[in-house]
Structures are given as C-alpha cells and as structure tokens.
C-alpha cells in the first residue's frame, strides 16, 4: 500500500489534468447542445411551428351525396345507402403488405384483390387512401373496429353507395356507376373534380342516365379542416371552417316504375323490349329490356364470372334493346308504306286480289298467307290482314325515296335527345343511302325496284329500334311530331314538354292507317283480334309484324322443315307489335318486340294488350306528377341504411 501511496500525488495531478480536459470537453458539448437547441427552438421556431401545424391539420374532402333518380311519381329508382367499408392509409403504416396481411385475418381478401390494391397504392402514392373492402356486413364492420388497434393504417369508414331498389327492372334507363379510371381523371376539367374523383370508393356514372347526367348527379364537394393524430385518426373537426358538400341534383324521370315493372314481368323469359310513350308529351313511361343485368352488381365492382356470363348470354342482357337493338320492322312498316302510297297517288279505294304470291322481276314474292287473302283487298284491309301482295302491287310503281321520306318523318333513321347513351339510328333505305352504302361496289349502287318490294313490307335493308317504332305509333296516332323525353326535372329545373307541331304530311292520309290498325285489333279477321285487350271500355289500334331472321329454303322444305317453331331459337322470326290507345282519343303509344318470338300478333300483340291494359288502368298521364319543389321531404318510399 505504501508503494502505491508514494505515487499518489503524481497520479492525482495527471487525473486532475485529464479530468479538467474531460470537464472542458463536456462543457463544450453542452454548449453545442444548447446552441443547437437555440437554433431549433428560437432561430427556426417559425418553420417548425408551420410543420407542426401541417402535421396536425388535414383538409378532408367531404364527398357529396349523389343525386337521386326518381320516377314520375317520386318513387326511387336510384339512391344511396350506407356502405360500411375499410380504407387503408398507406402513409400510416411502414409496411403496407404487412398491414394488408393483418387485415386479411379480419376480412376476406383474395390474392388478386391484394395485388390490385398494392398496384393502386403504388399508383396513388402514400397519401391517397385506398378502399380495401366495401359493403361489409355489420358484423364484419364491428369486428374490424374491435381489432383496429392491431391493424396499422386501417381506417373504418361509413361511406355511401348507390342503391337501385328496382334492380334489373330499370337497369337500362338508369345505367350504373363504376370505379374511377385513369381516363376519367384525365377528362376532368378542374383540379377540384380530379381531387373529388380520387376520393376512395368514389364512383362515376358508367352507363345510362347515371353516365349522361354524371356531372349533375355528382354534386359539389365540401371541405373540412380536421385535426388528426399521427395515425390519421381525426381528433377534432374544425366545423366553423368547413364548407358542406352539396348533394347532386335529383333527376325526376317520366318513367312510371309500376308500369316499367309490369312490362318487365310481361317480357320475362324472353329476349325483348317494350316502350310506352305518352303521345301528348312524349314522356317515356316504360323502357323495358329483357333480360337485364342488375346494376347493384356493378356498383360494388362486378365479379368476373358474372361479367363473363352476361357477355356470353345469347339473349344479350347487356344490350339496351329498346334503344340499341335494331330489327327489321316487318309488317309494322306497312303503316309507313300506306302513307307513302297515298302521297304517291294511290287511292285508298284501290284494291287488289291476293293469290298468296306475286311474280315480279324474276321470282315470286310470297304473301305471308299461303292461300292468299282473296279479292277486294283495299288499303284498309291490307293493313288489317297485313296482306303482302297488296303492298307488292303498290311497290311496283312506288318511289323508294317517298317511303324513306315518310319513314324519317315518322321517326325512323334517327336518334332522339333522351340522355341515354347507345341509341342506334337503324337504316332507312333510299337511293342516296344505297349509293353511299355501296360506295365500294358501283354495280350495287343503283336502286332496284324489286328491293322496294322488300322494303315496303319492312324487310330488306330497313331496320328500326323499338323506340323508333313507338315514336312511329305515337306520330301515326296524333299526326304530330312526337319526340320522346325521359328527364322531367333536373334539380329544381322543370323541363316542361314542348308542344308538338303537326307532321309535314297531309293529316287525312293517317285516317286509313288508323282505321286499318283498328281493324287489326278490333275486327274479326284482324291479325291481332284474338289477342286484343278484353274486358275494357276502350279500344286499341295496332299493327303486328314478324321480321324474318332466316329464310326457310327449298332444301329445308325438302327436309320437312316448314314451320318457324321447328327452327332453332336464334333463327326464328322476331315478333313485333306497335299500338296506340285509346283509339278514339289516343294518349299512349306502345311498341313491343320479342326476339325470335315468331308470331307478331300472338306473341308481341298479346304482351302489348297486357301492358296497355295496365297503362290504361293506371292512366299515369292524368295523375299529378311528382314535384320535389313542393315536397321538402323526399318520398317516404326512400330507403334508409
């Protein structure tokens, strides 16, 4: 011990020097720390205050409710319902894939969906929330909320989704909404629109009125500053600085939901279409198409199997047949032909004798009635019996352009301002049309009179849509230029029907056509007499049509195939029927087509009678229509949650 102690003063001196060094270094280090503290807290204070505010306050876009679509009496065709969903905020989790895996324990998450979400996050960036799953059940939603502390980045949310209470019944009128695509974003005019469209789960109109009036239905987004914590959870809403969203405009349609459903039921099982118009206003009361998809399926993102099924169905459930289906009008066209004949100078008293066929050019033209209609077939009877031979005879000297002119005046070969996309024009053949159509093969360009013989009975080149045929029926019934419309009110904007002027056709020419159409339905021998509406106090005028899809050939006959019913479904004739009622004072016009339904009167006429009976019974044109301005509260039928 003494040995050591003898060195003590020396060691103490060294230690003191070194301790002094250490103390100095520590002092310098503390000075550095304080200097840094000064820099952060005093020199750069303002900068960090701003950063702290940015941390705390977020601007939330308040998504507007989509406008409702109502029928003429205020019944809901499209509205919104609560949508329990879970969003993922990629910026609040370090490990997005891990977060999705954890979520997959609570909700179902297929590998494909997981990949899609990861792509979406990659595209949208860390700060755009994505919708992981929508339309959760209450149980799932409750479980999610319970597990939330274990689910980084997950945010439960109650959104709104589109609800179509009628399901497939009004699918083609309303259309559907779908997820926003890159093209949608590009086509937006303002940044505000783009921001709104980027909101998780935001939907835009994809088809039907939802698409045409997407902007009007969409509404205006609102804004709210919210105080959030580090996980993006809203701690406080700064309400006094908020601008509330404005719900999109309500569309009130001319459609009658009840009658629409009646028509859909009538056509159930068939591939067909029905259109009912109010001939005074042009209001489309019914626009039915079967089979139809259910827009509710599209709403949530359609599953691929269902999509394939819809696309491969031979009855085309995705085709809006009243507007987008084109058919040879068949004998319904004889109404137009009769007016054209009168314009060309054919007297209504002119009559022919029908032997069932007529030789023209190099071949026989057959009447639908194998044995013929016999003698004394004048214009009225030709319509009543749908005698082809009469029209062949007239056609021999009839200029095709006169027929084309009448057809156009009666509504064929054109589209109408309806607001529903996908309308087809059909074909109204004329000399000019043929020249243009066969521009590549000059030998086919001239019009051959034999072609007039086909067109005059609604075959050959001529085609029309069910909507055009309904317009034709309405114009024949009134002699006025009836134009269909389907949107009655948009928001507070009333769109009153425009009065229709008289057609540029001698009004007297319609008389014989109407008389013939009465004969079709109301007189024994008329083609639709067995299928007329019975037990009613009003009469209907109508005209049947069967348009040929496949011509039964000589070989077929040799094989013993003579009847339409023996053909495969897709080769059978289409059945058509146009009509108006009441006959004395027409208010409603109707066109029905049943694809491959064979008998115009039997199939389409029978369905027309059922639909027309329902229409006449309800008589919607005489009932006061819904006006949202007079009613602050929306219709009680509106569904909540």
């Amino acid at each position: 011990m003494a040995r050591i102690n003898s060195h003590d003063p020396e060691r103490l001196e060294i230690l003191s020097r070194r301790a002094f060094l250490f103390g100095s270094a520590t002092t310098a280090a503390f000075a550095g720390i304080v200097g840094r503290l000064y820099q952060l807290q005093i020199a750069d204070h303002d900068k960090y205050v701003k950063l702290a505010m940015d941390n705390q306050f977020n601007t939330r876009i308040l998504t507007p409710l989509r406008g409702e679509i109502l029928d003429r009496f205020g019944n809901v065709l499209a509205s919104n319902r609560k949508n329990f969903r879970v969003l993922l905020m990629p910026d609040q989790t370090r490990d997005v894939e891990g977060a999705l895996d954890k979520l997959a324990h609570v909700i179902e998450l297929s590998p494909e969906k997981r990949d899609r979400l990861l792509r979406q996050i990659k595209r949208g960036g860390r700060f755009t929330p994505v919708e992981v799953q929508a339309n959760l059940s209450w149980d799932e939603f409750a479980k999610l909320n319970y597990e939330l502390p274990e689910l980084p980045g997950a945010m439960p949310d109650v959104g709104e989704t589109r609800d179509y209470p009628l399901g497939s019944a009004a699918a083609f009128v309303i259309g559907y909404v779908g997820a926003v695509t890159e093209e949608d974003l590009k086509s937006q005019e303002t940044e505000a629109d783009r921001v709104l469209l980027r909101q998780p789960g935001f939907k835009v109109g994809r088809d039907g009125l939802e698409r045409t009036y997407d902007k009007e239905l969409r509404g205006e987004s609102g804004k709210m500053d919210v105080k959030v914590n580090a996980y993006g959870r809203v701690i406080e809403e700064v309400a006094d600085r908020a601008t509330p969203p404005t719900q999109g405009q309500t569309l009130v349609l001319t459609i009658d939901a009840d009658l629409q459903q009646v028509a859909m039921r009538e056509l159930e099982g068939e591939s067909g279409a029905a259109v009912v118009l109010d001939v005074h206003t042009g209001d489309v009361l019914v626009l039915a198409s079967t089979p139809a998809f259910d827009p509710n399926d599209f709403n949530v993102g359609i599953n691929p199997d269902l999509w394939r099924e819809l696309n491969s169905d031979p009855r085309h459930p995705l085709l809006n047949k009243p507007l987008g289906g084109v058919y040879p009008p068949g004998s319904t066209f004889k109404t137009i032909s009769s007016i054209a004949a009168q314009i060309a100078g054919v007297k209504t008293s002119f009559s022919v004798s029908c032997s069932g066929k007529m030789w023209y050019g190099n071949r026989y033209f057959h009447c639908w009635k194998r044995g013929g209609h016999g003698g004394g077939i004048n214009m009225r009877n030709a319509i009543k019996h749908s005698c082809d031979t009469y029209f062949y005879t007239v056609a021999k000297d009839l200029e095709i352009d006169i027929i084309a002119d009448v057809a156009k005046k009666l509504g064929l070969g054109q589209t109408f301002e309806l607001g529903i996309p996908g309308q087809k024009r059909g074909v109204v053949p004329s000399r000019e049309w043929k020249r243009a159509y066969f521009a590549g093969s000059p030998q086919n360009q001239p019009w051959f009179q034999g072609e007039t013989l086909s067109v005059i009975i609604g075959q050959g080149y001529v085609t029309a849509t069910p909507l055009q045929l309904a317009v034709m029926a309405a114009r024949i019934a009134t002699g006025k230029e009836v134009r269909p419309r389907i949107v009655r009110m948009r928001g507070a904007l009333d769109l009153p029907p425009q009065p229709f002027g008289n057609l540029d056709i001698d009004q007297s020419y319609f008389d014989v056509v109407r008389a013939g159409m009465s004969g079709v339905v109301n007189e024994p021998g008329g083609t639709a007499f067995p299928y007329r509406p019975t037990g009613v106090e009003w009469a209907m005028g109508g005209k049947s049509g069967s348009s040929q899809v496949y011509q039964i050939s000589a070989e077929d006959r040799a094989r013993g195939l003579t009847k339409q019913e023996e053909l495969p479904w897709e080769r059978r004739d289409h059945a058509l029927f146009v009509s108006f009622a009441p006959f004395d004072n027409p208010r409603y016009a109707c066109a029905v087509i049943v694809e491959h339904g064979i008998g115009g009167s039997r199939m389409a006429g029978g369905k027309t009678s059922a639909i027309m009976k329902a229409v006449m019974e309800k008589d919607p044109a005489t009932r006061p229509a819904f006006d949202p301005r007079s009613l602050a509260q929306v219709n009680p039928q509106r569904q909540e949650g």
Binding site: M1, I4, H7, D8, E10, R11, L12, I14, L15, S16, R18, A19, F22, G23, T26, T27, A29, F30, G32, I33, V34, R36, L37, Y38, L40, Q41, I42, D44, H45, K47, Y48, V49, L51, A52, N55, Q56, D91, R94, R126, K227, V228, N229, A230, Y231, I235
Partner: protein, 377 residues
C-alpha cells in the same frame, strides 16, 4: 472526542448520513421529478402507465443509492473484480439462456424479474478498470504490457454486448472504458493510436457488413434525415418539429401537440427530451440541461477530492458514463447524433437504466463520504 475512531466503522448512522452529498441527491431527484411530470403529460394526463411507476422506481433506487453510499469505499474496492466477473459471466450467459426481445437478446430471467447483464457491466467495468489502475504506477500505465489486461477487460464485454446486438450500449461501454484508461494517464501518443484504430475498426465494420442493416440505416439517416420522411428519418424530423415548435417558452404543460397527437415515437423513453422541450420550451430545456451539467461538475469535484485512486477513477468513470448518456440522448433527439436508443438518465422511463445510474451514483456517494476518513487505506 478522545478516542481514536477507526475509519467509518464506529460512527453513528446519523453521522454517516450527514456525510452524503445531499446537493447531488437533490439534483438527481429534480431530474426524476422532471421525468414524472413529462411521463404524466405523455400519457395524456394520467399516472398510468408510466408516471407512477417512474416515481416508485425512483424512490426504490434512491434507497439503493443511500445504502450504496453508506458502504465504505474499501468494500467497493474489494468487490470490484468480483462484480466485474459476475457481470462478464452473466453477459456470456445471455446468448445461451437469454430472452429474445425486439430482435435482440439482452435479458436474463432471475426469479421474478428480468435483468440486463449489460447494465450491470456498466458499473462492473468502471469498478474493474478503476481497481486495475489503482494498483499501477504512473509509468506502467502507458506500458504496452500493462495495456493488455484493460484491452481484454473492455474488449470482452463490448464484444458480448455488440453481438446481442446492442450497438448503443456497446459503444457506451467502450467509450466509458477508454475514458478511464485515458483518465488513468495513458500517454497521448498511445491515445491517438487508439483513436485511429477505433476509426479503422468502425470503417471495416461498415465495409465488411459486421453492422446490421438497421444500424447502418440509422447512421445513414443521421447523415441526411430528410432522405425518407416516413422511414427512419421520420422520428428525427418529428422530434425536431416538436422541439422547434416549442419555441422559447414552450407550448405549456400537457399541450405539446407533437406528443399528445402521438407524432413522436417512443416518447416515454428515447424521445422524452423532445416532449419536455416542446412543452417547456427553450427555457425549460436549458434548465434541465443545466441540472445535468451541474451533476457532472459535482461528480468531477467528488472524484478529485476522493482519497484513493480507485475512488477517484470509479467516480470519474461513472460521471463519464452519465455524461455520455446525456449528450448522446439530447444530441440524438436534435439530430446531432445517430438514433441509437440511449435513454435520458432518470427522465426516460425504464427501470433497469435508472437502477444502474442510481447504483453508480451510490458508489460516487461512497467515494464522497470516505474523502476524510479513508486517507490511509
């Protein structure tokens, strides 16, 4: 007093308590109070889960400090090597029987409580090295042969802690050990060679991927915190926002938005200084730093007045370790040092570290208490 008193032995307890450095105890208690206040605020105005626990732990640790301070320095010298070896053996056992926690094996279960041998080693290394240099003549200190034992004494625990892996503690141990060697009188020439050697070792550790990816990541983030605002640099950026937005006078107690809205990670431990600085501002943070500074100066004073070389070196070693904690932690939350996970002594929540620090200061107390009575050990 006529009778000759044997040093320390026969004095009354009251007398001996009077010998404790009460000013130092008050300073340490102020730190713990700051910790309790901040932890109460971090929990959103709740005693749970941290503040109450912290206060209770401090009370227990304070008792330990006093008991340790009452133990004569002679006993600490006698226990120096045994404590060092127990700590070393415990460290060696960690890979065999230890608990894996947060990806690192640092804990051993002893009965009902878990125990971190690396914490015991922080005290053990100081005691062991102090004991070693106590027996060396000044000219022997810089002799190469006499450098071998301290090299092993430092290298073995640092290596064991490093492989757990706990880079922060390994660096702290190494720095503390080297500081004692330097304080013991290592020649400047050798010291310079040692520093160059450490730099070379650090470089090769990076070069040959001895460091874990997250450790490299932390160092790179330290270099440029804006590199990845939501990755590693996120913590640092949020910490700077917290301090910076606090300003001169702070946002007020329990009103720190960065903490209350949970933008800061690990607020109760590594980033507690940020909360304190956010809520009490530059003024508050300066006062807190001043307390630390005062404690360090007091510690140096005690060391230099101690009677034995062992006591001096032990006290200095503990003060050095304490200073390193403070400077690394505060430097870290302000972006002056890498985010390595070093707590702020007595303010951060965490029982083991508090116990270690208070035990260490207990030995410093002992060195202080024996200043007049053990001159002839």
């Amino acid at each position: 007093m006529a009778t000759i008193q044997l040093p320390g032995r026969r004095r009354g307890l009251r007398d001996r308590l009077g010998q404790l450095h009460w000013m130092l105890i008050i300073m340490l208690s102020l730190l713990a109070t700051a910790g309790v206040l901040t932890l109460y605020s971090v929990a959103g105005g709740n005693w749970q889960p941290w503040a109450l626990q912290h206060a209770m732990r401090f009370t227990v640790s304070l008792g330990l400090l006093i008991v340790f301070g009452l133990i004569s320095m002679r006993y600490w010298m006698a226990l120096a090597y045994p404590i060092y070896f127990v700590a070393l053996i415990a460290l060696a056992l960690v890979p065999i029987i230890g608990e894996v926690n947060m990806g690192a094996q640092r804990w051993i279960d002893v009965g009902h409580f878990q125990f971190q041998p690396s914490e015991l080693m922080k005290v053990g290394l100081v005691l062991g090295l102090a004991r070693y240099y106590h027996g060396l003549r000044p000219e022997q200190v810089s002799h190469i042969l006499y450098l071998i034992p301290p090299a092993i004494m430092i290298g073995a625990p640092v290596g064991l802690v490093f492989i757990q892996p706990d880079l922060g503690t390994a660096m702290l141990l190494a720095a503390t050990g080297l500081a004692i060697v330097f304080l013991a009188g290592l020649s400047w020439r050798l010291g310079l060679i040692g520093v160059l050697g450490a730099v070379a070792a650090g470089y090769s550790a990076y070069r040959f991927e001895i460091l874990k990816p997250y450790q490299i990541e932390r160092i790179l983030t330290f270099m440029n915190p804006d590199r990845d605002p939501l990755g590693q640099g996120y913590h640092l950026l949020q910490s700077k926002i917290g301090l910076g937005s606090g300003g001169l006078a702070g946002k007020g107690y329990m009103l720190g938005t960065q903490s209350q809205l949970k933008f800061l990670p690990e607020m109760q431990t590594d980033f507690i200084f940020t909360i304190f600085g956010e809520e009490f501002g530059f003024v508050g943070a300066f006062v807190l730093l001043s307390i630390y500074y005062a404690i360090i100066l007091m510690g140096i004073g005690i060391a230099l007045r101690a009677k034995t070389h062992f006591a001096r070196l032990t006290a200095m070693g503990i003060v050095v370790a304490f200073a390193l904690y403070v400077l690394i932690n505060t430097g870290m939350v302000m972006g002056l040092a890498p985010v390595v996970g070093v707590p702020l002594p007595l303010v951060s929540y965490g029982g083991t570290v508090m116990l270690t620090i208070m035990a260490g200061f207990g030995i410093v107390m002992s060195a202080h208490a024996s200043r007049d009575h053990e001159g002839l050990s």
